[in-house]
């Protein structure tokens, strides 16, 4: 990779639930100040990997390193001030307002006896502005559209002031316009504030367009990593998803675009056999 000193890394990481291992002996370096997308088929362990990286799951083996230190040995709050995690479907208390929700992102900055301070207000204001949700501050979360709601959740994660932001499928359940909104927002955060972004994405085209670093997973292992052009190849897509695909350059952005081909006969077959 281009970045010599990754801030977040996994060494021989093994993660699992009960008696199944989901992620096995995985090595990964997350480049600092870049956008990394983790892609892979359902149940390949990408969400689990994200949880492990965020210290929400204790590893069965190996370690997650934050700035070279074992993340399990760093105090919980210290981790939470550096790393923000947005799970796929977070719960919201009934009737909570946008402002109250975003304010909860300040939890890692609150001490045992410390009350709300000026810098908490500033961080919340900044998060609301960055996500263009400032005018929603006194609205109830359950009145908002899916796209607005997702921006509010991202605002909550930003109020945490993390240098590394981990997001689990931030665009699922959103229409294409709102998907673009969210991805543009994350790209801008990365550009303007240097936030390291790691996200799990389903859409390979969006991953290729918005991430500088791609990680393809299958069956709990990394099958390819690198730039979009290095990862989004017919071989990797076939190996990871079991789907034959043709890769063509995106006519607008020039990033690799994956055109999946039908797995079985009987589906719509390509009109031109192609060279």
């Amino acid at each position: 990779m281009t970045d010599p000193a990754p801030r977040l890394a996994a060494r021989g990481l093994r993660l699992g639930y009960a008696d199944t291992t989901v992620v096995g002996d995985l090595d990964l370096a997350v480049p600092a100040h870049a956008v990394t997308a983790i892609v892979g088929p359902n149940a390949c362990g990408k969400s689990t990997l994200l949880r492990g990286l965020a210290r929400v799951m204790r590893p069965r083996g190996g370690a997650v390193l934050l700035d070279g230190r074992d993340i399990q040995r760093i105090p919980t709050r210290e981790v939470a001030r550096t790393l923000g995690l947005l799970p796929q479907q977070p719960d919201a208390p009934e009737g909570i307002t946008v402002g109250e929700l975003v304010a909860r992102g300040r939890h890692p900055h609150s001490g045992l006896l410390r009350t709300w301070r000026r810098d908490d207000d500033l961080a919340v204001d900044e998060a609301l502005r960055a996500t263009e949700t400032a005018e929603l501050v006194d609205r109830r979360l359950d009145e908002l559209s899916g796209g607005q709601r997702q921006r509010v959740w991202i605002a909550m994660a930003l109020a945490q002031e993390p240098e590394i932001l981990l997001l689990d499928e931030p665009t699922s359940f959103l229409d294409v316009a709102h998907q673009l909104d969210v991805l543009e927002l994350l790209a801008e955060l990365n550009r303007t504030q240097g936030t390291t972004v790691v996200m799990v994405l389903h859409d390979l085209g969006m991953a290729g367009r918005y991430a500088q670093h791609l990680v393809a997973m299958a069956r709990g292992r990394i099958v390819a990593r690198g730039t979009p052009a290095e990862v989004l190849t017919a071989e990797v897509v076939e190996g990871a998803f079991g789907v034959e695909a043709r890769i063509v350059p995106d006519p607008v952005y020039g990033t690799p675009m994956v055109v999946p081909l039908p797995r079985r006969r009987g589906g719509p077959s390509p009109p031109v056999a192609g060279g």
């Binding site: 929400v56 939470a80 923000g84 995690l85 919201a92 919340v124 359950d142």
Partner: protein, 349 residues
């Protein structure tokens, strides 16, 4: 969507915060004034009526000997015990419901209070104990029931819904044990046990009130302390963990404190039904708080138990023999039904 440059001076949260503070103040004022009104009525009313000025004099230790006896030895202990029990149950309910993220989670629904009851009835009927020994048995029974629920519900962590469901099962088991104990006892013992089981503040003595007050003096501040991560915990376990909350540890601390509060209340007055379930709901709807609303729940619990005891004394036929639990049960059960009906309609979002 540009923001006005001047907007930076006033925090965006300021307006909402001021609104919430006003509402909290209003709801606190309302709960406090209602509780004071109930307290005054409780001290004045009765077969031997005492006028409010005489009550004030008697409280200060002056005035007529009859007034002094009735107010300070008969009515005040009963009132104070009711207020303490209410405070403990209100806090316990608020802690349970927020930690387990379930408005139905209350110590009497998830079996904690049932554990207290079995232990107390065993002490009364089988061991032939009475007084403080029964209270101690009730306290220990509550803790034992919780330990059992915790152990059965544990799956590498403590999930709220699993705790509640296991608690309901443990409650059913405890109810069966309780019925077994009652059927094999003789009629007089069974009657004593039944009076205890309904929950009553009628037998209050200053010595035992002092013990309860001391326990609450430790447990209530502890409750506020362990409630701090609850706002983050309400966003779901993964997000709370990401926000730096040690999820299992935080939830266990809240549940243990809630159990201790509920067990103290049950040890003092028996299982006063539904207060722990209803008080936090009243508090949340009044205070409009999306957190545990712990302070308002304490006040609502005090108001509920003191008010229910007043109603039991003066409104329910049967005179001084009607225990407070009869009234709280009569008010609480319809509320539980309403809650079940509306929760079902709303479904999970």
């Amino acid at each position: 969507m540009s923001t006005h440059p001047l907007a930076a001076r006033v925090p965006l949260l300021a307006a909402g915060r001021a609104r919430r503070r006003r509402r909290a103040l209003r709801s606190t004022a309302l709960l406090v004034s209602l509780t004071v009104a109930v307290a005054v009525a409780a001290l004045c009313l009765g077969a031997y009526a005492v006028a409010p000025p005489d009550v004030a004099r008697a409280l200060a230790g002056r005035g007529d000997a009859g007034d002094l006896f009735v107010v300070r030895e008969l009515r005040l202990p009963r009132l104070v015990l009711g207020l303490l029990v209410g405070a403990a149950l209100g806090a316990a309910g608020a802690l349970f419901q927020t930690a387990l993220r379930n408005p139905l989670a209350a110590p009497d629904v998830v079996g904690v209070t049932w554990g207290s009851s079995v232990a107390a009835v065993y002490a009364l009927i089988v061991l032939g104990l009475s007084g403080a020994a029964v209270s101690l048995a009730a306290f220990l029974g509550g803790l034992a029931a919780t330990a059992a629920i915790g152990a059965l519900a544990w799956r590498g962590g403590l999930a709220g819904h699993r705790f509640v469901l296991t608690g309901v099962a443990v409650a059913a088991l405890a109810a069966a044990l309780l019925n077994y104990l009652l059927t094999r006892s003789d009629v007089r013992d069974a009657r004593t046990a039944l009076v205890w089981l309904v929950g009553s503040v009628g037998s209050a003595r200053w010595g035992e009130i002092a013990v309860i007050a001391l326990a609450l003096g430790v447990l209530l501040p502890a409750g506020f302390l362990v409630a701090r991560p609850l706002r983050a915990l309400a966003l779901g376990d993964p997000l709370a963990a990401g926000l730096g909350v040690r999820v299992t540890r935080a939830r266990t601390a809240v549940i243990v404190t809630g159990v201790a509060l509920a067990s103290v209340a049950t040890a003092a007055a028996g299982p006063v039904a539904f207060v722990a379930l209803v008080a936090p709901a009243i508090a949340r709807s009044l205070a409009g708080d999306d957190g545990p609303a712990l302070g308002a729940s304490v006040l609502a619990g005090m108001l509920l138990v003191a008010g229910a005891d007043l109603a039991a004394l003066h409104l329910v036929p049967g005179g001084t023999q009607v225990p407070v639990g009869v009234v709280t049960g009569a008010v609480g059960a319809p509320y539980l039904l309403w809650l079940l009906a509306t929760e079902g309609r709303r479904g999970r979002r």
